[in-house]
């Protein structure tokens, strides 16, 4: 049995910030690969999701268009996330570049939300995706605002002699 003191000291578990970052970077890249695969097999996804009945065939094309359109902000978002994590790994946490990345991530979520909202008119479930994206965008935006304040405080601290 692992004792709590050993856990706090980074004993047998040896889970630390660096490994957590590595896991986050790995997950980000995995999602990028999954997204790329999703874009490539979009017709198959549409076929699997709606079935191949003649009545549902009409939804295949707009569904594929939605996937392709959402993939663009999706890739931008994952690229920014990767850059953000790389900056954090290099020790550059409270820098303006990270605020910029968070801003782009937030706008990417909004873009996905808008595309999903538009797609909701042919398939109502997309309205849920739109709401979820807008909510994510809001959360990221709040984090971005916190980062901006933190950068300001850090700058003040750095320039206090």
């Amino acid at each position: 049995m692992i004792r709590i003191e050993e856990r706090l000291k980074g004993g047998p578990i040896m889970w630390n910030c660096s490994k957590s970052l590595t896991l986050s970077i790995f997950c980000t890249r995995l999602f990028a690969v999954l997204l790329a695969v999703g874009v490539c097999i979009a017709p198959m996804i549409a076929n699997w999701y709606f079935g191949s009945s003649p009545s549902s065939q009409v939804l295949h094309f707009p569904f594929r268009i939605t996937i392709y359109l959402c993939a663009v902000p999706g890739f931008i978002l994952l690229f920014c996330l990767n850059t953000l994590l790389k900056n954090i790994r290099m020790g550059n946490v409270f820098v303006n570049d990270n605020t910029k990345m968070l801003r782009i991530i937030s706008w990417s979520c909004i873009a996905v939300g808008i595309i999903s909202f538009g797609s909701g008119f042919y398939y109502a479930s997309f309205f849920l995706v739109a709401v979820a994206s807008a909510f994510f965008a809001l959360i990221i935006r709040v984090i971005k605002n916190i980062f901006e304040q933190a950068i300001e405080l850090k700058s003040e601290n750095d320039f206090t002699i």
Partner: protein
């Protein structure tokens, strides 16, 4: 910023170099450079006290308020 740091003037009067001053005051040369170039956003009382002690001057000799930008 309306607060002007006249550290270079006092340093010239006392004929002390940046390296010597930073060593005697106990701050890094980089921080002293920030202070001299008016880039500092705040000065700790302890730093000001050390500067005044080493340069044998008053805080008003180092800091000056100016209305013009």
């Amino acid at each position: 910023m309306p607060i002007i740091v006249n550290l270079d003037v006092i340093m010239a009067k006392r004929k002390i170099s940046s390296g010597d001053l930073s060593e005697k005051v106990g701050i890094t040369p980089a921080n002293l450079s920030i202070l001299k170039n008016n880039k500092a956003k705040a000065v700790r009382f302890s730093t000001l006290e050390s500067l005044c002690r080493v340069l044998k001057c008053q805080p008003a000799d180092i800091l000056e308020y100016s209305d013009t930008e």
